[in-house]
Point group: C2
Chain length 190, copies 2
């Protein structure tokens, strides 16, 4: 098992591919992001990092709110498209034929077609260099009812996907189960 030092770089598996939305100058805009994760459990928080120039970030700073929408594998084209073009140049909502709704926060746009929609309120913004990391409280979550099992969002029904970075550079579906969490490790405990 020979190791090679490959230098400092952004690398993590798995990486999400989510659609982050904000009203920018009063108009809903969405872009695809992979630099995000859960930040806190109680109260629930997540973080998303944005390049300074990003159009969505402008709207987040205008409103102090944004949304994280989890696309299903059926929306892979739309997700990728939202990461390729800028809301400065085109109306991505129209281009993707998204239906938009608003929830508890009132000004965080949500995509009906995405099975999970997370409403977020900004708490902290850290300027880290190339990116600003926005830490936000999760204020409400909306889910498509057909994607729930016993009231909880079910990944088997949501069919979310991930981004496997280059050299693979593919969006991938979730694969086969390899073990039950907080359980399979007990075999080692014995």
């Amino acid at each position: 098992m020979s190791k090679v030092a490959i230098g400092a770089r952004t690398l993590l598996y798995p990486l999400p591919a989510v659609l982050v939305g904000a009203d920018v100058d009063g108009k809903p805009n969405f872009s695809a992001y992979a630099w995000c994760g859960i930040a806190n459990s109680s109260p629930p928080m997540l973080s998303v990092s944005f390049q300074h120039k990003r159009h969505t970030l402008k709207g987040i700073k205008q409103n102090g709110t944004f949304s994280v929408n989890i696309p299903s594998i059926e929306l892979v084209k739309e997700t990728d498209y939202c990461g390729i073009v800028s809301g400065r140049d085109t109306d991505k909502v129209a281009d993707c034929r998204f239906n938009i709704f608003y929830g508890k926060l009132g000004n965080a746009p949500l995509i009906s077609e995405c099975p999970v929609n997370i409403e977020c309120r900004v708490l902290h913004i850290l300027n880290l260099g190339s990116h600003e990391m926005v830490v936000a409280q999760i204020e409400e979550i909306h889910a498509t009812d057909s994607c729930l099992t016993g009231g909880a969002p079910d990944a088997n029904k949501i069919k979310p996907f991930l981004w496997a970075m280059p050299p693979v550079n593919q969006y991938c579906a979730f694969g086969k189960p390899i073990g039950e969490a907080f359980s399979i490790g007990k075999q080692l405990k014995a």
Copy 2:
């Protein structure tokens, strides 16, 4: 497409299942974490959120360094085990038969058996409530040479996995490719 408000909670897909390591009182310890993500591109940074009481966090504060180790699907039992038990009660390195090495930082323990090992230096710690979010600079990455393609870490060879939270509550392998990133969306652009 009827929507249901399911309340604020921690929810995101995909979620990682990585082994975060630190020397605690001079002894290497590892635990499984899902609350982590990339935070910045240049310089490269990531964040991991820890409950205050976590043994690994004690070591991170002692040294200002830690590691993020990406396990392959062959290590799912060991990964889960490291999330179930505490380093206060047992020597997880011995229990999992991990071989440990050190890299550039000198005191961030790395697991040989994990195909990717990320050395991190602490920059910021945010107390967010239940968790402290540690933002860290990625200082060096080590990879098992058989997991590289053209010098870059290749997810098809690394075989990382993800955690699909309850009600699924399974670790899952990466699944089938559903589209090329920064490319498949161009079909919508036309």
